[in-house]
């Protein structure tokens, strides 16, 4: 088994829990402060420049701007390096052991996700322009080969104001957990089962409708081959997909292609991050991370490792 992170190579990995927690708290504090400065400094700079300009004190204007740029650049660099250090420390000491408990782990890359071309080729999510991923896992789960990561997909939108000037911003199209695992059947055509968004005024039409009216209402079914649809979506399996959707408590979509299935949960948050965890105890962090992974593996258990499916 090849580990990208080797616990013996990291000096801080051998520190006790208390020391580790102290390090993480320190890093998180620095990250938080740097984030605040990165936002506040430009605003303060604008105010300072405006004050100096209004008093006609041009002598101090350039040095003041220079100082502010220096401080802002410095805080941004610190933010970037401390964030990375925190991520690495977290990955080595907390995330990796938790993943090793659950998976037969072959590879863990905290800064990478499942390859963009694989996400794009699945066609599960349409109309996105920017990709990022993190916490890539490759291994086995109860005998199934799996790839797992957090994925964030965004669409570029351009606004034009009354003066005709354009500004670009990004809108999240998908953010959540993405898993690819063995399906156990070889399929001749791709099958997409996408949960319809409740906010959509015009629900996307399915290529084929099954006998299960509730399933047809909840999911858009797309495939070039009707036989594949009915071969995969047996009455039992449709019930389990709906149960999995309830379990995820987030829009869940599946892509069946070849002998693999993609399970994409649009939870709108990343897993295995400290953002939503209180940094008061390492056991809390470990338990939180375990529950985040279990959230996905429970769905795999229900859908793929259930003896009653077919």
């Amino acid at each position: 088994m090849k580990d990208t992170f080797n616990q013996d190579s990291a000096g801080s990995a051998s520190t006790g829990d208390k020391e580790l927690l102290r390090q993480m708290q320190g890093l998180k504090k620095t990250v938080r402060l740097s984030r605040i400065l990165a936002v506040v400094l430009p605003g303060a700079g604008f105010v300072l420049v405006a004050c100096l300009a209004s008093t006609g004190n041009w002598t101090w204007l350039l040095p003041a701007i220079g100082l502010l740029i220096f401080l802002w650049t410095g805080s941004s660099l610190i933010l970037s390096s401390r964030s990375r250090k925190l991520k690495i420390l977290l990955g080595q000491t907390i995330t990796l052991p938790v993943l090793q408990e659950i998976f037969d782990l072959q590879e863990y890359l905290p800064d990478q996700g499942i390859a963009e071309r694989i996400i794009s080729a699945s066609k599960l999510v349409d109309n996105w322009d920017r990709y990022s991923g993190s916490d890539f896992v490759r291994g086995k789960y109860r005998g199934l080969n799996i790839l797992y990561s957090d994925i964030h997909l965004e669409r570029e939108e351009t606004d034009i104001d009354a003066d005709g000037s354009t500004s670009t911003h990004y809108v999240t199209v998908f953010q959540g957990q993405w898993m690819i695992c063995d399906f156990g059947k070889q399929l001749p055509a791709r099958l997409l089962v996408r949960e319809k968004s409740r906010s959509q005024l015009f629900r996307p039409k399915s290529d084929i409708e099954t006998e299960n009216a509730a399933f047809n209402k909840k999911y858009q079914i797309s495939s070039q081959d009707g036989h594949t649809v009915f071969y995969v979506l047996t009455p039992h399996f449709m019930e389990y997909i709906m149960q999995a959707g309830e379990l995820a408590a987030a829009p869940t979509s599946l892509c069946f292609e070849g002998s693999q299935v993609h399970i994409a949960i649009d939870s709108r948050h990343d897993s295995l991050e400290l953002n939503r965890v209180r940094l008061d105890s390492l056991d809390n962090i470990r338990n939180r991370f375990r529950s985040e992974i279990k959230y996905v593996t429970d769905i795999v258990d229900l859908l793929l490792l259930n003896e009653n499916i077919y």
Binding site: I208, E209, T210, E211, G226, H227, T228, V229, F230, Y231, T234, Y310
Partner: protein
């Protein structure tokens, strides 16, 4: 532009829309008919696959219990151009044949343990899954077609084209009765 001209233009537009609708509905019936034929052939493919796997299984069983399987040979006959009822009858015959092979296998542990027999059992399960899929796909297409045929206003076009309701691939009444007795 006078009132009469406006009325004529509107009437022409409505007539044009009606013609377009009639043509597209007619084409929809034809496309659905093709889909039904396509899914019907899918049933034949699934039946053939199941039959071939059963035949192979029978050959394996014959090596262990030749006299037991002689009565099973020739039970099922497949031919091209079968009606839906004949296909369903063939499927039921194959179900019975599968059950009887399993009963024979239970008496011969060496047969059950044979890897080739185990693989063929998996093959039979997969063939049954494909047959179920083919059946459901066919019935879904027939259901859509028959619904279009009986609902107004598409029924007008369907009747003009002399379209007939298609038969579903149904479970035989005997099979339902047998199930209710077991319950």
């Amino acid at each position: 532009m006078g009132t009469i001209e406006i009325v004529l233009i509107v009437a022409a537009a409505v007539l044009l829309l009606l013609i377009i609708w009639a043509i597209s509905t007619g084409n929809r019936f034809r496309r659905m008919a093709v889909k039904i034929d396509e899914s019907e052939s899918g049933i034949d493919v699934a039946l053939t696959k199941r039959y071939d796997t059963l035949t192979k299984m029978l050959e394996v069983v014959r090596q262990y219990a030749a006299h037991e399987v002689e009565t099973l040979t020739g039970i099922v006959s497949l031919r091209t151009g079968m009606s839906m009822a004949e296909r369903e009858k063939a499927a039921v015959q194959m179900d019975e044949m599968t059950d009887r092979i399993r009963l024979v296998a239970e008496q011969y542990p060496q047969l059950r343990a044979a890897e080739v027999f185990s693989k063929l059992q998996d093959g039979i399960q997969d063939a049954e899954a494909h047959l179920q899929a083919a059946r459901r796909f066919y019935n879904a297409n027939v259901s859509s077609f028959n619904q279009l045929l009986v609902t107004f206003p598409s029924s007008l076009i369907g009747n003009l084209q002399h379209q007939q309701a298609r038969e579903f691939f149904e479970t035989e009444p005997m099979k339902r009765a047998d199930l209710s007795m077991k319950l």
